[in-house]
């Protein structure tokens, strides 16, 4: 932990992430504006003392909606990363520990999922399942677990040869105990790094899907759908696009800084 926060980048990342989480959680009590209250006579009004980020096309306060959007983004990130890492750890652990046919079958499934570039499979899944927050989470988790499984499998392949693992087996420990108590914990540090960077990826992916109209549906605000909605008013009210995008970029940068700092702390060779 100490080596993590010795890195300037990690400190900046930690402050950004903590600030956004705090602001997103406390915004309903801190801000005087209701994110869904409409002030149509003043629609598209630019930033001012009474509305710091201005008003959107329906006269809603953009700051309040950006912070409500932060809740959606962070929630998607936490669920996608949580589900993906748990599934990835279980599948990668079993695949690496048992090897043989199980490993081969899991390996081929992962090959097929990895054959789809980036978010393409998520776009395809949401396209057929229908646009909604639940389907976005499902689609991102379906493609997300593979990276974690590959990482864990690699770690398990290495760890199962360690002497203390052999000793545990010799002392009569059963396979589940050896796997859960002795082998899988070795994969936790790199998994934490990947999960932190994965938060950035999941938040970006959710925003991209929402930008394409495939994610969170109105009236729930999402940074991606806010940026998309602002495109129509790019010339007369650019603040509609600028603020949600700025928040998105800053949060993603925060998680990337934190992930990089964690990686350097876990494996100093990366420095």
């Amino acid at each position: 932990m100490r080596s993590l926060f010795r890195s300037g980048q990690a400190r900046v990342g930690g402050v950004i992430v903590a600030s956004v989480v705090l602001a997103a959680l406390t915004s309903p009590w801190l801000l005087p504006w209701d994110p869904s209250a409409q002030d149509l006579p003043h629609r598209l009004q630019g930033p001012s003392g009474s509305h710091w980020f201005g008003l959107d096309e329906l006269g809603r306060d953009i700051l309040a909606r950006v912070l409500l959007g932060a809740r959606v983004s962070l929630l998607v990130g936490v669920i996608v990363v949580g589900v993906s890492s748990i599934v990835g750890m279980a599948v990668g652990g079993v695949s690496g520990y048992y090897g043989g046919t199980i490993d081969q079958v899991i390996g081929r499934i992962m090959d097929v999922l990895m054959a789809f570039p980036g978010m393409l499979l998520a776009i395809a899944l949401v396209a057929v399942l229908g646009p909604s927050l639940v389907n976005v989470v499902l689609a991102l988790a379906v493609i997300g677990w593979v990276g974690y499984a590959r990482l864990v499998r690699g770690q398990v392949l290495r760890a199962r040869e360690f002497e203390y693992v052999t000793a545990a087996k010799a002392l009569g420990a059963g396979t589940p105990r050896v796997l859960i108590r002795h082998v899988l914990p070795t994969a936790v540090p790199p998994l934490l790094v990947q999960a932190t960077l994965g938060m950035a990826g999941a938040i970006l992916s959710e925003a991209a899907l929402s930008f394409l109209g495939l994610g969170v549906q109105p009236p729930t605000p999402s940074w991606g759908s806010m940026i998309n909605g602002g495109r129509v008013h790019l010339l007369d009210a650019p603040h509609l696009t600028i603020f949600p995008g700025l928040f998105l970029a800053i949060v993603v940068l925060g998680f990337n800084f934190l992930g990089d700092g964690l990686r350097d702390a876990v494996d100093p060779r990366h420095k």
Partner: protein
């Protein structure tokens, strides 16, 4: 060498089969009746039945699967529900635009990333290194669907230097290529730095310096050349990100490529077209990775004997 090539090609076949199976099953994941979903809730039952028959959805699943695979191999991806035209022909019309954008974005990325990565590695631990890598991390964090509109405001609307959307001249390509290539440049710059740092620590670089080779020549002719080998893999892997990014960039800049066709088809629930676009992008990605694997075997003979 031939054995290595054959092995790599044979390994790609089950992956392609898996990709085709997943794409085939997409239409069956549509909640309820896909034909009803395509026509809308108010459609007449006769029309729904007719569409179901024309899509082959009334036949046994295995029969549908066999026909899908057979047709896909012969290049027949069905008929667009929206236009009634063959999916393959409509996609083929869009391929040049997407290829042009993808190649331009990759060139932008390489031209930006290589000098940045080299400077960061050579000046390791200095302000130049931190600056370059912070820029790279910022580049990864800025979404192209935000960067694109901002670039359009500045360079197309305010300065009037470039067209805001569409395809035609080289000027039309600049904004989409930059907004798509920047994130890739950021990733490549980081990889170039890491890869070059590995090589700079090798004994052969020190030996070259001891033999009197200049510092610049030891970097460019020795270390950088070897560090380019892993970079080719990274560039090829990132080609997938470029293809996915193109879906968004083409939508922003009204670029008439496959990505825009895909998003338009999703809006119209034109599932045969969605399947066709997804299949083509995935197969292209597998193909590019295969070619990279083969090239890797040529560039680094050790790989062939692993």
């Amino acid at each position: 060498m031939l054995g290595y090539f054959l092995r790599r090609v044979l390994l790609a076949i089950p992956v392609l089969l898996g990709v085709a199976t997943l794409v085939f099953s997409l239409i069956h994941l549509v909640p309820g009746d896909p034909a009803q979903a395509m026509l809308g809730e108010g459609a007449a039952p006769n029309d729904v039945d007719q569409l179901r028959r024309s899509l082959g959805l009334d036949r046994p699943l295995l029969e549908q699967y066999g026909e899908f695979l057979g047709n896909a191999i012969s290049g027949d991806l069905g008929t667009s529900f929206r236009t009634g035209q063959p999916v393959t022909a409509m996609i083929a019309e869009r391929v040049p635009a997407t290829a042009e954008l993808a190649i331009a974005a990759m060139l932008v990325a390489i031209v930006l990333a290589l000098p940045l990565g080299v400077i960061a590695a050579v000046k390791r631990g200095t302000a130049a290194d931190y600056g370059a890598m912070t820029f790279a991390l910022a580049g990864v964090s800025i979404p192209n669907f935000w960067l694109g509109p901002l670039l359009a405001i500045v360079f197309a609307v305010e300065l009037g230097w470039l067209p805001v959307s569409g395809r035609g001249t080289l000027a039309h390509l600049v904004l989409p290529a930059f907004s798509l290539g920047l994130a890739l440049a950021a990733i490549l710059a980081r990889m170039t730095r890491a890869s070059l740092l590995d090589e700079l620590n090798e004994l052969y670089v020190r030996a070259a310096r001891a033999r009197g080779v200049s510092r610049v020549a030891s970097i460019t002719s020795h270390a950088l050349r070897n560090s380019l080998i892993p970079l080719t893999t990274i560039i090829a892997l990132q080609f997938g990100a470029v293809l996915t990014g193109a879906v968004i960039t083409e939508t922003i800049f009204a670029w008439p490529g496959i990505g825009r066709l895909l998003i338009q088809s999703i809006g119209f629930r034109d599932y045969p077209m969605v399947q066709g676009c997804i299949l083509l992008i995935a197969v292209t990605y597998v193909g590019v990775n295969l070619v990279t694997d083969l090239l890797y075997g040529v560039l680094d003979p050790r790989i062939r004997f692993e």
